[in-house]
């Protein structure tokens, strides 16, 4: 955990959300400090993506409050402070005629005023992001010509090109092989450690997340656990809830 992790970036209090009559989030409360690296885990349908969408202002909470950099997400203006990698691209067209470089540049528009134009100074930012995610050598390739893992790295570059303060990633490693997944986690770890980027990572890969994240948020429509990995691993309540095997699976790689 970084030194200034106590500064609040995000706080969620008693948040409830329903899709029609179906309540998917109940009284969810947690706070994220600057520099935190949160692993958000939970079973399918536990409300992980919904929490992210409410934080990003894509959905509005039915009850409770959400404060993002001190502001309600729907009124939040400093969009450049956030980087986002979605679970999957909605309606992704594999024949979309955009190059890697063009797609990475999309991440810069949140900072720009009308008319949004890419200027010379932006080139360095775009190149930095492409270098960090190892896509610089394919910068002129069309997105549809890339493998799933390469596409994912391009989207990570798009998410970090703006040098965000808060990076939210929704199950980013599903299309990656084990080696690419490990490299991906290392990139995030570096960003968190060196750039003090606050990270919220939604994942099913609880074994890997234990190695890098500073906190664990386990969600199953409500918060089951939120705290450090050390606390999670030594909690008898969690042993009782998950069983020894699962708790060990999450904890054994955390050092």
């Amino acid at each position: 955990m970084n030194a200034n992790s106590m500064s609040p970036i995000l706080s969620v209090e008693n948040m409830c959300f329903s899709y029609g009559p179906l309540e998917v989030l109940h009284e969810v409360t947690f706070a994220v400090g600057r520099g935190d690296y949160i692993g958000l885990v939970g079973p399918n349908g536990s409300g992980k993506t919904t929490v992210i969408k409410v934080i990003l202002g894509l959905l509005e909470a039915g009850k409770g409050t959400v404060s993002l950099f001190g502001t309600n997400p729907s009124a939040f203006g400093d969009r450049h402070k956030i980087g986002y990698l979605p679970q999957k691209l909605t309606n992704f067209n594999p024949h979309f005629p955009a190059t890697v470089k063009e797609i990475v540049s999309l991440g810069l528009f949140s900072k720009k005023r009308f008319p949004k134009r890419i200027i010379k100074d932006d080139e360095a930012l775009i190149n930095d992001a492409m270098t960090l995610t190892d896509v610089l050598d394919i910068k002129d390739a069309l997105i549809g010509e890339l493998s799933g893992g390469q596409q994912q790295r391009v989207l990570v570059a798009r998410a970090i090109v703006n040098k965000p303060e808060l990076l939210i990633l929704d199950e980013p490693t599903t299309a990656l092989d084990p080696e690419a997944r490990e490299n991906f986690f290392k990139i995030l770890y570096e960003l968190n450690l060196r750039e003090n980027v606050t990270i919220i990572l939604v994942t099913h890969d609880s074994a890997s997340i234990g190695k890098y994240a500073s906190k664990l948020l386990y969600l199953d429509k409500k918060v089951i656990f939120y705290g450090s990995f050390e606390d999670f691993c030594s909690s008898e309540n969690m042993t009782h809830y998950f069983g020894e095997f699962t708790q060990h699976l999450i904890c054994h790689r955390h050092d």
Binding site: L89, F92, N93, A98, E102, L106, F109
Partner: protein, 276 residues
């Protein structure tokens, strides 16, 4: 083929008018077409063209210039398609289908109630750019410049929204306004296109240059440029060939467009075969 060369054809004022108006309208169609095709809204041109048919009937009933009646009606209908997609949770093709059939049904009913129109409906259905008037040219140029300016100013918003709407929204882009603006511009363009290729063939001018460019384009910007070049060249070639061979202009433009698409398609496959 013909003893009428291009320079002889340009001696005629109506050919020059057709070239000027056709180029502007083709450029607008080609640019918007890329955005529509990539958003899987290719058939919005067809749907709005059917609404144009209904609007022409209203214009004739009210003894007004059909284009002037058509522009607000078609723009309202384009917003109607957007609202149906958002509020009734319909896919784009279903929303377009509803508005399209309403347009045709309205046109047929109005024509029937008024006892039929004593005009050449054929020219509205299949266009006649060779008969374009000076006032229509000015209208076409002004509206084309408006459409092109909006797309140029919001180019990156359109790029972002077309590639990934959710990310665009998170980036602070007002996706709803951008999308509404796009369908409104499409509405204006469809009415302009009526004179070039007619109601029945409007979607060809929106779709064919875009899909031609998509066969060989190397980037998003490149797609816009290639689509524009393909659209303008095919309209100019189509006008000249139809004049030289005494063929229907709208249909000739569409066939030339299709030939361009075929060449681009075959080129892409030839390049791929050589590469692998």
């Amino acid at each position: 083929m013909t003893d009428m060369d291009i320079f002889a054809a340009l001696q005629y004022a109506f050919i020059r008018r057709a070239f000027i108006a056709g180029s502007f309208i083709a450029l607008v169609c080609s640019i918007l077409g890329v955005l529509l095709v990539l958003r899987r809204l290719s058939l919005i041109g067809d749907g709005l063209a059917h609404v144009t048919f209904g609007s022409v009937a209203i214009g004739l009933l009210l003894k007004q210039q059909p284009s002037f009646v058509a522009i607000p009606v078609v723009m309202a209908s384009s917003l109607g398609i957007m609202k149906l997609m958002q509020k009734a949770r319909l896919y784009g093709d279903a929303a377009i289908g509803i508005v399209s059939s309403l347009g045709i049904a309205g046109g047929v009913l109005i024509a029937s109630l008024s006892g039929g129109f004593n005009v050449d409906l054929f020219s509205f259905l299949f266009g006649n750019i060779l008969a374009i008037s000076r006032a229509e040219i000015v209208t076409s140029i002004v509206l084309s410049i408006i459409v092109l300016s909006v797309v140029f100013l919001f180019y990156n918003e359109y790029f972002s929204t077309t590639f990934d709407e959710e990310f665009a929204r998170i980036s602070g882009i007002n996706v709803r306004k951008i999308n509404s603006l796009l369908v409104l511009l499409t509405g204006i363009t469809v009415v302009l296109t009526m004179k070039v290729v007619g109601i029945m063939l409007t979607s060809a001018l929106l779709i064919l240059p875009a899909v031609t460019a998509l066969q060989i384009a190397k980037s998003f910007r490149n797609t816009m440029i290639l689509s524009s070049l393909s659209g303008i060249s095919s309209v100019l070639t189509g006008i000249y060939v139809s004049f030289a061979l005494n063929l229907p202009t709208g249909a000739t433009i569409v066939i030339v467009n299709f030939l361009f698409f075929t060449v681009a398609f075959l080129s892409r496959h030839a390049i791929q075969r050589r590469r692998y």
